[in-house]
């Protein structure tokens, strides 16, 4: 059997290290393959001087099937993890010979491995054969071409998904919990009374409050993104050491969360940096990844004890965001009409045609003031 005569393992350059004079130990039938649990020739070597002993983990057949290195299990052609390679090919819609479905059952694994080995020895399709005499099957140029193709297709599919992002039907697919009956019966009045949807960013007199209530978050926003944003903003005004986020709590179903700081000072700095579209009247607004998020001072409260409560809260948040957006728009409109150019709020309005920004009194539509 070819297995027993294997002299050289199938490994990538990185695993071999930099030393051209490499000593390798071979143990025929030395270990059990991690994937198919059959015995295979084990190879061990020291990649770099003083580094840990590297060894092969899977048998040659399994590696061949998946086109991966026997020890690090990265793809041999592209040097990326197998899962990434499979995902890339899948999303690009291109055929991938090397994607293998693994079954959890030990017996099935061995059977599959055996089958594969037979197929190989009998000669299978030429492009599935990895080990052929002569030139390598996937030459460098070819590999680049495939990569380019995949990249193009990935970009295309990403654009397509971006365009079709707003899908109202999908938004409501929360599953069985959101069935209308449940939502009608859940009462979130208690929770709502405690949450300051119309709160503002005036410094609370109670100095023990060092946390903010934020709402309007999307499924996309992760804790990490919020943390990054805050650190960025605070880095502009204070040294690194002072920024101490105690915790960030985001409840994506309820579309709201809390940001807690350890020190009141830092919290105050953040509240100063955040945009306040209506001054002290309404909640401040932040834009994280182009998604508007409202922020007010608040102590950490409960956001619901069951999924249906959270989902209902999410609906309330959406409605509230719309209301607030309308209010803000009106307020900005008023300010602009009064010739008040001092509000430096970020808006999404694209710059108008030339001449639209000039405020002639004759153009003033606000005859009441």
């Amino acid at each position: 059997m070819s297995n027993a005569d294997q002299k050289v393992p199938a490994i990538c350059e990185k695993c071999l290290g930099s030393n051209p004079y490499l000593k390798m130990i071979r143990e025929p039938q030395g270990d059990q393959c991690r994937i198919c649990t059959s015995t295979y020739n084990l190879f061990k070597w020291n990649a770099n001087k003083g580094s840990k002993l590297s060894r092969t983990l899977v048998c040659l057949e399994c590696a061949r099937q998946r086109n991966c290195c026997q020890s690090c299990m990265f793809d041999l052609t592209y040097h990326i993890p197998m899962s990434l390679r499979d995902a890339a090919f899948k999303i690009a819609g291109m055929g991938n010979f090397h994607e293998v479905l693994d079954s959890p059952n030990a017996v099935t694994k061995r059977f599959n491995a055996q089958k594969q080995q037979q197929k190989y020895l009998e000669g299978g399709q030429p492009d599935q054969q990895l080990l052929t005499d002569g030139e390598p099957e996937v030459s460098e140029a070819q590999a680049r071409k495939t990569l380019d193709e995949i990249l193009q297709k990935l970009v295309q599919s990403r654009q397509a998904s971006d365009n079709s992002k707003f899908n109202p039907k999908k938004e409501n697919s929360h599953g069985a919990e959101s069935s209308n009956n449940n939502l009608k019966n859940t009462d979130i009045a208690k929770i709502l009374t405690k949450l300051p949807f119309n709160g503002n960013l005036t410094l609370p007199k109670n100095t023990s409050i060092t946390s903010f209530f934020i709402f309007g978050i999307n499924n996309e926003i992760s804790n990490g993104m919020v943390a990054e944003y805050i650190e960025q903003k605070l880095a502009e005004v204070s040294e690194n050491k002072e920024i101490k986020l105690k915790s960030i709590i985001l409840n994506h179903r309820a579309k709201c969360g809390f940001i807690c700081f350890e020190k009141r000072k830092v919290a105050e700095k953040l509240s100063n940096l955040v945009d306040k579209p209506r001054g002290t009247k309404g909640p401040g607004i932040m834009f994280i990844k182009n998604i508007p998020i409202r922020i007010t001072w608040c102590k950490v409260k409960s956001l619901g004890c069951s999924s249906s409560e959270e989902i209902k809260l999410g609906y309330v948040v959406r409605r509230q965001m719309k209301l607030l957006a309308e209010k803000d728009h009106k307020a900005i409109g008023k300010k602009a009409n009064n010739g008040d150019s001092s509000s430096n709020m970020e808006t999404f309005e694209p710059p108008g045609p030339p001449g639209s920004k000039s405020n002639y009194s004759s153009q003033n539509g606000n005859f009441e003031s």
Partner: protein, 335 residues
């Protein structure tokens, strides 16, 4: 090797030149004299199970751990910081490493950007397996990178009034790395915590296992299954897509700049009578070798076996040497 004592002044280029920062040595977490000499566990039952190495049944196994790691206090400099590619100390994560700065493993949380452990092991160096355990415990699966931990047996009743379970989770798990998101399911008394990085997830799983959040309950940490929520699935798809795109872009860029020529390796000419499908040493010509060496890229879907071993190739197995002599054995420079 005593260079890592507290007396060392190491200038960290990231900090302003005015301050010189002392790198803190890792703290000894447990007094070694407190630990038993032999590792036989204390008797808590009647029958000793020699397979699982404990007394009695699973219930006894689910005990609260007497140790706990405090990342701020305990992390620091160890021997392993000088050695590249070292792993993180498992006992440090569990709070019971008695070696302190002499430990051969790292005493810190895995760094998101700098640390890169091989895909086939976890951050502690333990090998991953090809599928999950039935109870989703232990080390994970190398075929599916998993950054999400399932946290069971949450003490939802025991939370103090002025705080919430979300706060507690966020604070305590946040110690071990950047949390990407977490979701508490009150009905089931459980939570799913997703980290930005799988190494941090592995560390947190070991660090928080058998610990309690509030008082005395024992958490049950396991690897999480894939999120069945279609929104989450779509989100994960998109993330994977982004990742794939970035890696491909990097690959393409990498290849445009010719990488530095790695030392050329030549295989030992091998025995002629290798079986049909495998490549012979003779089919490699020097042109192919140099082509291979220039680029890590086209490295061989076709010829994974050709990997270069020069001259001395020790073959040790049950005491017999396989001769590698061959006709064209001109490259026989023995070191």
């Amino acid at each position: 090797m005593s260079g890592e004592s507290k007396q060392d002044l190491v200038v960290d280029p990231n900090i302003s030149e005015k301050k010189k920062r002392k790198k803190k040595a890792a703290r000894v977490q447990v007094d070694p004299s407190v630990l038993d000499e032999d590792d036989k566990p204390q008797q808590t039952g009647n029958i000793f199970n020699i397979w699982y190495y404990n007394w009695g049944s699973k219930e006894n196994y689910q005990k609260k751990s007497p140790f706990r790691v405090n990342v701020k206090q305990d992390s620091g400099y160890t021997k392993a910081d000088k050695i590249p590619n070292s792993f993180v100390c498992l006992f440090f994560a569990r709070g019971c490493c008695h070696k302190g700065k002499h430990c051969d493993y790292l005493h810190r949380i895995p760094n998101q950007t700098k640390d890169a452990f091989p895909a086939t092991t976890d951050c502690f160096g333990r090998d991953k397996f090809s599928n999950y355990r039935d109870d989703m415990g232990g080390v994970g699966n190398f075929l599916r990178p998993n950054r999400t931990i399932y946290v069971g047996k949450l003490p939802l009743d025991a939370i103090p009034r002025d705080s919430s379970i979300e706060q507690v989770i966020s604070e305590q798990f946040g110690e071990f790395g950047r949390i990407e998101r977490f979701r508490v399911i009150h009905e089931k008394n459980c939570a799913f915590v997703t980290f930005e990085n799988e190494w941090n997830a592995q560390f947190a799983k070991e660090a928080m296992a058998h610990q309690s959040l509030v008082k005395d309950e024992v958490l049950n940490l396991r690897w999480a299954n894939e999120d069945p929520n279609p929104q989450a699935k779509a989100r994960n798809q998109r993330q994977l897509q982004e990742q794939a795109m970035n890696t491909i872009k990097n690959l393409l860029n990498q290849n445009e700049q010719r990488p530095q020529t790695m030392p050329k390796r030549k295989t030992i000419s091998e025995n002629r009578n290798t079986p049909k499908k495998l490549n012979d040493g003779e089919s490699i010509n020097s042109k192919q070798i140099s082509k291979k060496r220039q680029n890590t890229f086209g490295d061989d879907a076709a010829k994974p076996e050709e990997k270069k071993l020069k001259s001395t190739k020790h073959v040790e197995s049950s005491g017999f040497l396989i001769g590698y002599g061959s006709d064209s054995d001109s490259d026989d420079d023995d070191d």
